[in-house]
């Protein structure tokens, strides 16, 4: 467990001075940030900006999960990696870059694919989870694990010129399954490898994920519980919409849940837990 502090060091006061003077945050909020831990799942287009702004703001512990290694085609949007790290573990690369910016944060890189066995033991060590993944199966896995472990999930996604953001399982609001009880047919799912994405679009959504995590961790309420932000980069429009509440019939967060432990999400979705191949071979 993260060591809890009740005051800030002189170095912290100096480093965070520009945010400490904000009345909404203040020393109390900064101490809360220092005592908080965030797990980012996915060290890609969303995970890079979220990680660097959470590290800069002085979150206590930052876990970064990614099974993948850096590739040249990642660098147009995954801004914490570098050319000389092609082939290196992405989670390690993110931790290394963030450490140089703020060595006061504890970084825990996990070079693994989140699955039904390891998800709960990892997630339960963190206060807030960021969904910065790139595929449907991991999104359901992460949702169910967060509901079971009682963690708020700050979820971002991006494709082409569009981005979406919601905070799930927050203050008795809905979870991902409340909104999407059935997975989409695999042939309707487009990932960034197939569909493409402008790098700064996940940049903006990842920043918004960091912002909401900072607000929650420091005691300011999130604006996106039971709400979704829709961003269209071509039109330059942001739309905020009201979502349904928690569904009593939800199989995982409802009044009589039928999913009480993690299942096989690749089978449930008929799709692999990566953005490398769209559909599983068994289909």
């Amino acid at each position: 467990p993260l060591k809890q502090v009740n005051k800030l060091s002189n170095e912290s006061i100096s480093r965070y001075s520009r945010q400490l003077i904000l009345p909404e945050l203040g020393v109390t909020g900064q101490v809360k940030l220092t005592n908080s831990s965030v797990l980012i799942v996915g060290a890609g287009g969303l995970g890079c900006p979220s990680a660097v702004y959470l590290a800069a703001a002085g979150i206590g512990r930052l876990g970064i999960v990614d099974y993948d290694e850096v590739e040249l085609s990642n660098l147009h949007r995954q801004i914490l990696h570098t050319e000389d790290r092609v082939g290196m573990s992405k989670s390690q690369s993110v931790a290394t870059t963030c450490h140089r910016l703020n060595s006061g944060v504890e970084y825990v890189p996990y070079h693994l694919a989140l699955d039904s066995c390891n998800a709960l033991p990892i997630i339960s060590q963190y206060d807030i989870v960021l969904d910065a993944t790139d595929n449907v199966a991991t999104r359901y896995l992460l949702n169910d694990a967060c509901v079971i472990a009682g963690k708020t999930l700050v979820s971002g996604s991006a494709l082409r010129f569009e981005g979406q953001l919601t905070v799930y399982n927050y203050e008795n609001g809905p979870c991902y399954r409340c909104l999407y009880p059935k997975p989409p047919p695999p042939q309707t799912v487009t990932n960034c490898s197939d569909g493409g994405v402008v790098g700064v679009v996940p940049g903006i959504i990842g920043c918004m994920q960091a912002l909401e995590a900072i607000k929650i961790a420091s005691g300011i309420k999130s604006s996106f519980g039971q709400r979704m932000l829709l961003f269209d980069a071509i039109d330059g429009t942001f739309r905020c919409v009201k979502l349904r509440g928690r569904q009593p019939s939800c199989p995982v967060c409802g009044d009589a849940p039928t999913i009480t432990q993690l299942i096989d999400y690749e089978q449930f979705c008929g799709a692999k837990a990566s953005d490398k191949d769209k559909a599983m071979n068994i289909l």
Binding site: G45, D134, L159, Q164, P185, T190, C192, V197, M228
Partner: protein
Amino acid sequence: MEISLEFSGGAELLFDNNKKHDVILPDQKEKWNIKNLLVWMKDNMLRERPELFLQGETVRPGILVLVNDADWELVGELEYEIQSKDRIVFISTLHGG
């Protein structure tokens, strides 16, 4: 009855790659609800591969429907009675990152 239909997240690719359609629903005996709007859209707007948009009598899993910026679940889903000037948005959920 004049309404506005909007598409995002890729759903627009099924509708001439046009994010906004102002349409006029013809007068009919029964009231317009989303259920018969979907039938009308299938007959009048969806050119091909309706299975990428519809499944049975409703939208396929992974499409969120909004009525005037609120989740359709809050207003009755398929049974919601459409009002003139309504803005109905179909959003394909994104999964990339």
